[in-house]
Amino acid sequence: MTDVLGAVESKSVSEPVVLIVEDLANQRMEKAREMVERGCVPIAVEGTDAAARELTASPGIDLVLTDIHLVPRRSGDKSGVELARFVRTDHPDIPIVGYSAYFAEDELPDEDLELFDFAYGKGQSTFSEIEGNMDRCGELAFKSRLQRKNRAEELLADPPRDQSELVLEIVRSASLAEVEGVEQILHKAGFRLKLVTIPSSANPKPLIVWVREQDNCVDVEVYGHSGLYVTGESEEEAFAHLIDLIQLYWQDLDARDEELSGPAKKLYDFLADLRLADDQGSS
């Protein structure tokens, strides 16, 4: 559990995650390379549907960099503007940069341009102009991550009663990019990160979990502890089962007398730490 919180507590700003939306494969790769050079971690997708999926499943995204003319077969297509409108509505704190080799900036109406933190169009194609725009993207991504980190620290210092906001801030401020592999796969498989607390506690320690809704059940797994998984017919029931499981392991903590090692030690140390926080909160 301390993986995420530990990242929040550290003073450095971890690598920001940039979602690149570009229909052309070579341009996607080029933009990804440019972002890597600026210390960012790119997630590159080719269309608005994939972008929306990533934004929903990957709360670590710090900047959206999108082509505006994403469907070349449609003359005058402005799918990137529609994506920007979606981001502004559903993820208002994520900055958006738009670009186009099809439109010039003055060909887009103000109401479209206002959706972007900045946008650049055809005509800005010299090496120094491209480098300058990429520099601005990188700076914006780092600024976005730093703002989230600061916000998360404020929230952790004074947690709100409604903890749902907290988890997003924690997760966004921590670097999901630092934990490539399992986490990336989980994002793509539709898992969301949420925060729950043990209800008996007056000062609950945040518990970050993966949630995945399926056709007839909801899977929940504690972040960083794959052994703590449960299923329920609803998210509410799954969380109730999770609390039940944690409390069951807590009982076992007291009764267990043999030495523990490996996964069992890791899990029981985590649960002991969690219970300690719970006891302190209740006292």
Binding site: H241, D252, P263
Partner: protein, 91 residues
């Protein structure tokens, strides 16, 4: 993959996992050579384990799918299981 509650119970008995019961779950630790290594649990409702929960149960026992299928069918002895797990814990 599915694991019925009865199959999970049998696995706990075979591996001599000391079970603890709650409202929804049975949990314990697989003890290898006197040391508790692998935490395992299952839901003791009538529905058993399905999909991801069943896979997680298998992974918690450190078995590959084919090996788990053998264990589930009671075709793997306790010693055979612990030989597999010792190798995995050592690597």
């Amino acid at each position: 993959m599915e694991v019925s509650t009865r199959e999970a119970e049998r696995i706990f008995v075979k591996l001599e996992v000391n079970p603890r019961h709650s409202t929804h779950h049975v949990a314990g630790v697989v003890v290898v050579d006197g040391v508790g290594h692998l935490p395992v649990h299952y839901s003791h409702g009538r529905k058993g384990l399905h999909g991801r929960a069943a896979q997680s149960f298998r992974k918690s026992l450190r078995l590959e799918p084919k090996e788990f299928a053998v264990l589930k069918r009671c075709k793997m002895s306790r010693d055979e299981y612990f030989d597999i797990v010792r190798g995995r814990l050592a690597s």
